[in-house]
């Protein structure tokens, strides 16, 4: 045991020296996370606002203008008056996704119910973007009912919890932290073992009788330190640049970060062990680090909506579990008891990947 610890310490210290002298690794560890969170944080925008609504107002009455006025309250819609007989052409030119036709008798019907005709408007939607169409369809009737049914017997009040402004940044930024930390951890460690093979120093290591697990653990520590500093950079950016609130337990979040980083480093080292060449390891690490966390972690696409097979697949991804922890601690003040399953799953993956990497580690020099 004492021997093992001494060897792990020796490898860790040596690796730390490599890192401190390698500008590329340093830049990747600290610069890349900051760059990524700024880029992605500003680019990924799931909120709709300022949706143009084309209005064909045949009524041309004070009542119809009042109605359009109501649509434009808030930031969601921008009404634009248009005329002509063929509104579909606006869809074809992709100038708008919503066209509202106001009936000629709209003004009269609203002001004089005794006139005997119901006030009519027609909403035409370009449903090629269903989520946008659905949003519009859910908003416009509520605007109408709020405006014209003053005599209703009860009202519904909606209150949104945890993210009162429905700000998608609050969902995206904690998710981005997962994507970025996972990616840099995998990239950093994917070179760690392949480098030793390529430079020939693996021969020296193996001739001393050091075990694969000792090499792997020794390599994980310095990269862990780097990834943690990267995490602090990303976390600070989330708070300072994007003003995302953090409501949960810092200690639980920090421990989970350590576990997630170890899992990701383990995955990178596994790639390194298999590839044995730096370039190949890098080429594998890129998609492995990026694709699952973008597509299968619940970052953008909800896991509940995936087909059964993919839902099952996400269970073996550390990114998916850390995504739950990250969003839970940032937004919902969740602690260990709420997030026990993701935390245990992450820990299990950690142990699993390090054991597999050690087992796959070649200890002979056969070509």
């Amino acid at each position: 045991m004492k021997e093992t610890l001494k060897k792990i310490k020796a490898v860790a210290l040596k690796e730390y020296r490599h890192i401190m002298r390698d500008k590329f690794t340093l830049a990747m560890g600290f610069g890349l996370p900051l760059l990524l969170i700024i880029f992605f944080g500003f680019i990924i925008e799931l909120n709709y606002n300022k949706i143009p609504i084309f209005v064909k107002d045949d009524s041309r009455s004070a009542q119809s203008r009042a109605f359009v006025q109501k649509l434009s309250a808030g930031d969601l819609f921008i009404p634009v008056y248009v005329s002509g007989d063929d509104p579909v052409k606006y869809f074809e030119r992709n100038e708008t996704a919503v066209i509202i036709n106001i009936d000629r008798d709209f003004g009269k019907s609203v002001s004089y119910p005794e006139y005997g005709k119901q006030a009519q408007i027609q909403i035409m939607l370009d449903a090629s973007d269903p989520s946008k169409a659905g949003l519009v369809l859910s908003y416009i009737p509520s605007i109408i009912s709020n405006s014209y049914q003053a005599d209703q017997k009860y009202e519904i009040k909606t209150r949104y919890l945890f993210n009162g402004e429905l700000n998608s940044k609050y969902l995206i930024i904690p998710g981005l932290i997962v994507v970025i930390i996972g990616l840099i951890s995998i990239l950093l460690s994917s070179l760690a073992i392949a480098k030793e093979w390529e430079k020939g120093s693996m021969e020296l290591l193996l001739s001393t009788g050091i075990s694969p697990a000792e090499i792997i653990l020794g390599k994980i520590f310095p990269y862990m330190l780097m990834s943690l500093i990267g995490t602090v950079v990303v976390f600070a950016a989330a708070k300072i640049i994007f003003a995302v609130p953090f409501t949960g337990s810092f200690i639980f979040f920090f421990i989970s970060c350590c576990v997630f980083i170890t899992a990701s480093l383990g995955l990178g080292i596994f790639i390194s062990v298999i590839a044995k060449q730096q370039l190949l390891a890098m080429l594998i690490a890129m998609p492995v680090g990026l694709l699952p966390s973008m597509l299968l972690s619940g970052f953008i696409f909800p896991i509940e909506n995936m087909p059964l097979f993919f839902r099952g697949l996400t269970a073996i991804l550390p990114q998916r579990w850390f995504m739950e922890i990250c969003r839970g601690t940032f937004l919902r003040s969740a602690g260990f008891t709420d997030l026990m399953i993701p935390f245990l799953a992450l820990s299990a993956f950690c142990v699993f990947i390090i054991v597999i990497a050690s087992k796959q580690f070649k200890t002979d020099l056969e070509p």
Binding site: E3, K6, K7, K9, A10, L13, K14, R17, H18, R21, D22, K199, G200, S201, E203, L204, L205, L206, S207, T208, G209, I210, D364, L365, E366, P367
Partner: protein
């Protein structure tokens, strides 16, 4: 004299290719034993097999009476191995490399530095221990490499083409160090291309295509093949096959 290395019918195959083909020989304690042969003759593979770095196909290897395949972990600290390829870290200083190599053999930082200084003093090595390895000449690198592989005071030292590509002066120094180690009772197992170096060896094995074609002292080899020097003897033995 006691046999410290005993190799019986050793065969190493990589797929279809037989790198070492049923060789049997032994090395005595304290001798300088030379392996000569062209590239691909199986010299490096034999050394790697003895160091537990390749899987052998058949045969037995004993170091000081212990089966190498079964006692790898126990035997590795008793072996020093200097690879043909430069295996130290270019972006570390000499001292950092030594401390690292030493730590893997359980030496403290102090012990490693002390041992390093002893070796360097002996060969009159002038580079500063704080010099980056990448800035050193080929000869210096080989000296540092050797020093790293003997820090832990091993009984048997395997040197795989230790003098390839270094200057004659460095080679001379290098062989002085090897002779000194031998006189201290260490067993040296060395491969080389240089026939003049082979003269330093007490016994030599000529290798060809994975087999040992001749094994004896340089004098006997020359006499047996009626050659005036080792190079001629080597050629004569290869021709016979």
């Amino acid at each position: 004299m006691t046999k410290i290395l005993d190799i019986q019918n050793l065969t190493v195959k990589f797929g279809e290719f037989t790198a070492v083909d049923n060789i049997t020989f032994s090395v005595e304690k304290g001798e300088i034993f030379g392996f000569l042969g062209a590239n691909g003759a199986g010299k490096t593979t034999t050394i790697r097999a003895l160091c537990g770095l390749v899987n052998i196909s058949s045969g037995k290897m004993f170091i000081d009476g212990k089966d190498v395949s079964k006692n790898t972990k126990e035997l590795k600290p008793r072996i020093g191995y200097m690879s043909q390829k430069f295996t130290l870290y270019q972006d570390l200083t000499i001292k950092e490399n030594m401390i690292f190599s030493g730590a893997l053999y359980m030496l403290s930082e102090k012990e490693s530095i002390k041992r390093m200084k002893e070796v360097f003093e002996y060969v009159n090595f002038k580079e500063s221990p704080d010099e980056m390895v990448k800035n050193m000449s080929g000869g210096s690198k080989q000296i540092v490499s050797l020093a790293a592989s003997i820090l832990h005071n091993p009984e048997i030292i395997f040197l795989d083409e230790p003098t390839a590509g270094i200057s004659p002066v460095s080679r001379k120094l290098f062989w002085d160090l090897i002779s000194k180690l031998s006189s201290d009772g260490k067993t040296i197992f060395v491969t080389t291309h240089y026939m003049d170096e082979a003269e330093y060896c007490r016994r030599i094995a000529f290798m060809q295509n994975g087999r040992i074609v001749a094994l004896d002292s340089p004098e006997n080899l020359k006499a047996a093949s009626k050659a005036s020097n080792l190079e001629e003897a080597f050629i004569n033995f290869l021709d016979k096959k």
